[in-house]
């Protein structure tokens, strides 16, 4: 999704080590040179594009490329071929401001030799360019003893994505119509809604992956992402509400969740927050509503459990496998096989099948998230978490659909048994520094809890704390598991879903503009 200048950047911005450019993530509207320098993509960042000639690369050519990639040594080589078509429609101020169509294709070749990775990519899917990319990637392994790649053979993967109305068969008018319906519903919600911004995105991404272990998989995935913003004005202030839905599915997504429903939810937030007073500051109890609040575990626990930082012995959970790291009511799962979810795929971007991975079970750390490289380095199994934004990026360990599993508490009881604190209804997003272990979140919509009741709305609440502490302090987990879609940044973007039931965290630092009363 193209960042809209002036809007908050998409969620889950992680201050990741490889870049470390302070603030680079924040300047969505500024020229991109600095950010691009260390990132692995060249000119484009918009996820885009196309089926012009869904590049047909035959098996014999893939085998030649793999062989060439291992020509200088190395233990593993892989070719990733991708084509993408994307549509992006922006309705703002009740007008269709722009419509964009993107077509992109390319291939990346990777060679692993010990702990080293060589990567090269090309936009041109000709034999010459692919072999050249293989040569460039192979340089990393110079001097090693070459292995003999296994001949590739078609590999079957179970499908996790069902489609009733294929995107390719949907008339543009239907796309425009869902935007109009959302725009109207947002503006009709309340006369204090001054502006609606509706952003519609869909894509079809085709992938072919072959590697020196003999893997050869191919598949095509549709994706829909629908975002509504609504600007409210009143009482001398303004608030921009936001609501999103996203699925790997056909256009039938809009039959399951109506665009009006998305718009009203967003407008409701915008109106509610006009009444908000300054949030208090200091340590207090926090109850987080079910759904997108799951971004808390995505950041605070999920990122530090990714195999790359564990293999580097940097992550705060390094060496803690098998230990009690969280409260016994806490179970956390990453499951890339949930039907049609935004974080779901039929296989990850290395071809590994998706599966349900329980990471923390009743408070005990049982698994890290791995890709092929970190699984080798750690001597662990592959978990299906090797993902990449596009062919311009090498795969790295990423989350898929990450959530706190259902508990036994009733959501109403959790609030009622909290004397004083903050009720977080919606978060914008958060980030984590997995070296220091400090995470933070920005609330979009939050309320005071006074004597066991949700009362006045508060603005400007930031939650901050230590990863290792926060999961020890979760003392109530509801039975109302729900999910929300987002985009995770770790030098490259990944579509993710996060989820949680209503949970309570005891004693977390909340920062607002008001002194604690």
């Amino acid at each position: 999704m193209k960042p809209v200048p002036g809007s908050a950047a998409e969620i889950s911005r992680r201050q990741f080590l490889e870049v470390g450019l302070q603030g680079g993530l924040a300047c969505v509207a500024a020229p991109a040179l600095i950010e691009r320098l260390f990132a692995s993509g060249a000119p484009t960042t918009a996820p885009v594009s196309a089926p012009v000639a869904a590049a047909r690369i035959d098996r014999a050519l893939l085998e030649r490329v793999i062989k060439r990639a291992l020509g200088q040594g190395g233990e593993f080589a892989e070719v990733y071929v991708e084509n993408r078509t994307a549509r992006n429609i922006l309705m703002e101020e009740s007008r269709f401001k722009s419509a964009e169509f993107g077509i992109s294709q390319g291939a990346g070749v990777r060679v692993i030799a010990g702990d080293q990775t060589g990567y090269a990519y090309t936009d041109e899917l000709t034999a010459g360019k692919l072999l050249r990319a293989a040569e460039v990637a192979s340089c990393i392994a110079r001097g090693g003893a070459p292995i003999k790649p296994v001949g590739i053979r078609p590999t079957k993967r179970a499908s996790r994505v069902t489609v009733k109305l294929p995107l390719g068969q949907v008339a543009d008018e239907r796309r425009l119509d869902v935007c109009r319906r959302a725009d109207r519903a947002a503006l009709d919600f309340d006369r204090r809604i001054k502006l609606a911004r509706v952003s519609y995105y869909d894509e079809v991404r085709g992938r072919t992956i072959a590697n020196s272990e003999g893997l050869f998989v191919t598949g095509e995935l549709p994706l829909l992402y629908f975002i509504v913003h609504a600007l409210s004005e009143g009482k001398g202030t303004r608030h921009m509400g936001r609501e999103r839905i996203s699925r790997h599915s056909g256009f039938e997504m809009f039959d399951q969740v109506a665009p009006e429903q998305v718009a009203r939810s967003c407008a409701r937030e915008a109106i509610a927050m006009l009444e908000a007073r300054d949030a208090p500051s200091g340590k207090m109890d926090v109850v987080m509503q079910n759904g997108w609040g799951g971004v808390l575990v995505h950041e605070a626990v999920g990122h530090p459990l990714e195999g790359d930082s564990i293999a580097k012995k940097l992550g705060v959970f390094t060496g803690k496998l098998g230990q009690q790291v969280a409260s016994p009511v806490f179970t956390m799962v990453d499951d890339g096989s949930l039907p049609n979810a935004r974080g779901t795929t039929d296989f990850d971007d290395e071809g590994t099948p998706m599966q349900r991975n329980v990471l923390i079970e009743d408070g005990v750390l049982v698994k890290y998230l791995t890709d092929i490289l970190s699984a080798r380095q750690l001597g662990l199994a592959r978990t299906g978490n090797g993902r990449r934004e596009s062919f311009r990026y090498r795969p790295i360990p990423r989350m898929t659909n990450t959530f706190i599993d259902r508990g036994h508490d009733k959501p109403a009881d959790i609030v009622a048994s909290t004397r004083r604190g903050i009720y977080v209804q919606a978060l914008s997003g958060g980030s984590v520094d997995d070296v220091s272990g400090m995470f933070n979140f920005t609330c979009r919509e939050a309320y005071l809890i006074e004597n066991g009741k949700k009362t006045a709305p508060v603005k400007g609440a930031t939650l901050i704390g230590s990863c290792l502490e926060v999961i020890k302090n979760i003392d109530a987990v509801g039975d109302d598991l729900e999910f929300g879609p987002g985009t995770c940044g770790k030098g490259q973007r990944a579509e993710v879903e996060v989820g949680q039931p209503t949970v309570r965290i005891r004693g977390i630092n909340v920062g607002g503009a008001a002194a604690q009363g």
Binding site: G6, A46, R238, N440, A513
Partner: protein, 444 residues
Amino acid sequence: MNHQPLAQQLVKKCLARGADAAEVFVESARHLSIAIRNGAVETVEEAATAGVGLRVIVGGRLAFAHCNDLRPAALDSAVARAIEFGRVTTADPSNALPRDPGVTAVEGIYDPAIAKVAMASKIDLAQTVEKLAMSDPRIAKSAGANYGEQESEVWLANSNGLAKSYRSSGCGVDVTVVAVKGDLQSPGNESCARRFFGDLLPPAEIAGRAAKKALERLDPRPLKTQRAAVLVDPDVVWPILGGLLAALDGEAVLQGASFLAGQLGRSVASGLLTLVDDGTRPRGLASCPFDGEGVPTQKRTVVAGGVLQGFLYNTIVGQRAGQASTGNAARDGFGSLPGIGAHNFSMSAGATPAADVVKATRRGLWLKEVTGYGIDAVNGNFSGGAAGLWIENGEVAFPVRGLTIAGTAREMLEGIDLVGSEIDLDRHFAAPLFRIREMQIGGE
């Protein structure tokens, strides 16, 4: 390869297919990145790539297509898709393309030497920076060092007869090391990016700064919730400058989605605040002869002595506002429509040496890290996570972390009461160290 003929030919093709106006933006780039950790090369990534962005206006309706396949059949298909989409959007008389054939003379945005420097020297540079950053025994781990470079060339043509191009380069080094004490880990990062390879700072300087940052914040102490002065380090000006930039976006202003709407000519900050957007600075990382749609760049003071002087516009938004484009059409490569963004965006240096800003502070937080989204451009509210150094009686007392800070843009901007005299302009958002009189700080 010169893509100007391709750009002009595609403009003609769009017109022939029914567009009333068309713009073609072609970009080709070469990219290299090297990651080092513990002295060894961890990854090398290399690629060359090219793509086309087509912007068309059909009966006042705007549409866009992009494509990274430069073969005629694929480009034909992209043209057809753009025109097709140009029939469904909403007509707007403001939808227009630039006419100014001029370009601004900007020195030093392309260094032909970068490509000639041997790979081994680039690897050695990153290895040296990492090694030097690890020289203090308290620095027990490295999160790695990176070297990156990019060369790119853009060609822009439109149906008003514009045909422009330029070539640019950039390179940078980045290192993160970790100071360890018991269970505590404190990362320190420093990066240096320049247009010219020869302008990169000496490895020892980059390494020294990264190590200092890791060490100075190693052993944090708890802090009580309170109101106190906040010193904003040049490393963390983005929450403030980024929020201001988003609020200066002419489109947000038109939509009433900016806290600066209606403030033109009024005082919005302390008299010590002056903000400049400069697309012309020699060797500037964000300097270029024309913006993302071909309008010549300029140097503009947007806030002078606290008074708001103007907003940022591209051609279409300027047209809606009855203003000329300010050369701020920002494009994130060939795959994006031009939005609005800044070039080299900086807060001007003041008169107080940085050391004196610290000395003059009886009690305050020297911000070294801020998390969150920065100032909310819509309503000016600010809240974020914070870490840094606590100052007592004009001296650094101890490191602090896990704090929050909050306030409003008005309170923060009007509260600027000391501005440092030293500034490093080779940053995306450049500013000196400055002090905000008082903010709410959340802690224990």
